[in-house]
């Protein structure tokens, strides 16, 4: 089974953290359904070109978080995810993206007022654009 996880080699974030965060996101966003059988540790490691030690750690950590379950001899599955965890995750994912945008604004010394104005403009543009039937997520320059 192919897992839509992409390792970013140009990131300072350790490989283990990247894989764990992306796998958690796939589960909490519902892209991986409850009961999905994940690849074996060796198979996943060769897909990602990482070591089995890293994959084993990721599986173990997400098991502790309750997102995965391992059945001896069968493999590792996506466990039942609480609805409020999903909601929390939706909010958290957006919060993180906004935080990244704020960091970018700080790097170019944008003021708070400028940033707010920029944000409002982007929201309006996005909603206007989608109501005109353009693809979601695209904005006019």
């Amino acid at each position: 089974m192919f897992m839509p996880i992409q390792v970013n080699e140009n990131s300072a974030e350790p490989l283990y953290a990247q894989i764990k965060n992306q796998l958690r996101a796939l589960i909490l966003s519902g892209q991986l359904e409850v009961g999905t059988l994940l690849p074996s540790i060796r198979e996943f490691a060769s897909q990602l070109k990482c070591s089995v030690i890293t994959v084993r750690r990721v599986y173990q950590d997400l098991e502790v978080e309750g997102l995965l379950r391992t059945r001896q001899g069968t493999g590792t599955f996506v466990a039942h995810v609480q609805e409020d965890d999903k909601d929390k995750y939706r909010k958290k994912a957006v919060e993180e993206a906004i935080l990244a945008a704020i960091q970018a604004a700080l790097q170019v010394q944008m003021s708070e007022a400028e940033l707010r104005a920029c944000f409002d403009e982007m929201i309006m543009r996005t909603w206007d654009v989608s109501s005109r039937g353009r693809p979601k997520g695209t904005t006019e320059e």
């Binding site: 300072a12 490989l15 070109k49 089995v52 790097q107």
Partner: protein, 301 residues
């Protein structure tokens, strides 16, 4: 966790002409692939020979699954290992694959004829061609098939893919991954092919001038080395910054190689430095910088 390592090397020393190998201390964990890397003449093949029990150690000892290795246990040990040496054995020149397979079936308790025939067909090896008549790559493939066919617990491969065409190479990597699938097999592979390390290895054992420069989990090693590009900063400005292994200025950009990215990025944050680019480093470059640092360290002694 409780199971002992397949091999534990304790203070191994071996004198080879002008090169002293060791003292080496390391473990080979079960279910993992350990890649031995290093330049020509760094002691890789001697180390492989020692693991195989071919080479008598001047000092130190080897433990197999928790027990000290004795030459008397050799027959049992050899049943469990599949060894592909660096160079083909010239004694086999006049033999054909089927003849050697018959011998293999006689010697090895776990010999699997089905597997042998399957692999011979898959890699398109002529079962009745003399080994001396084969191309380098075909002979290599056969040597690997021969050891896979008795299903050893431990594969000891000394530059196994030299001479292989890209398609056979890919098939072989996949077959080795398949062997590892159950988590009970172990592979030790000496190689110069970076892509092999990337695809297969869990641990890296880096030999340099007979010494063990690094024995580390692969991802930890890669995480520990990063390259940064910084604009508007002289290389000299980074004097005293932690985790800088190398800094050089190329036109307006300073290129920094870090062997402790977490420390260095903390320093960048504290000093308002924003790298324009961060990237991971290929294994060969990491090796070059490790050798340079080691040589500098020895020079200071």
């Amino acid at each position: 966790m409780a199971q002992p390592p397949v091999i534990e090397m304790k203070s191994m020393v071996k004198q080879r002409d002008t090169l002293t190998i060791g003292p080496l201390n390391f473990e080979i964990p079960q279910g993992c692939v350990t890649a031995i890397v290093g330049m020509n003449g760094s002691g890789k093949s001697t180390l492989m020979g020692a693991l195989m029990g071919f080479i008598h150690l001047d000092q130190g000892e080897m433990h197999i699954e928790g027990e000290r290795y004795n030459i008397e246990d050799d027959a049992t040990w050899k049943q469990k290992i599949g060894y592909v040496p660096e160079l083909p054995n010239s004694e086999d020149d006049d033999q054909t694959p089927d003849e050697l397979a018959t011998l293999g079936a006689y010697w090895y308790n776990n010999w699997d004829w089905n597997l042998y025939h399957k692999l011979m067909a898959k890699y398109e090896i002529s079962p009745r061609m003399k080994l001396s008549k084969m191309s380098k790559g075909m002979r290599r493939k056969f040597e690997i098939i021969l050891i896979l066919s008795y299903r050893p617990d431990l594969l000891l491969l000394d530059e196994p893919t030299s001479g292989l065409d890209p398609i056979s190479w890919k098939l072989l990597i996949e077959d080795l991954q398949q062997v590892m699938e159950d988590g009970k097999h172990t592979i030790i592979i000496a190689t110069h092919v970076i892509e092999e390390v990337k695809r297969l290895a869990d641990y890296i054992l880096f030999m340099h001038k007979g010494q063990l420069l690094v024995w580390a989990e692969k991802d930890e090693l890669f995480d520990a080395w990063k390259e940064y590009w910084i604009e508007g900063l002289d290389a000299g400005d980074l004097k005293g910054a932690p985790g800088v292994s190398w800094a050089e200025q190329e036109w307006k950009v300073t290129r920094v190689i870090s062997n402790d990215p977490i420390q260095l990025e903390g320093y960048f944050r504290d000093h308002g430095i924003h790298p324009t680019r961060i990237q991971s480093m290929p294994l060969d470059e990491i090796m070059i910088h490790m050798i340079r640092m080691e040589d500098e360290r020895r020079g200071r002694l």
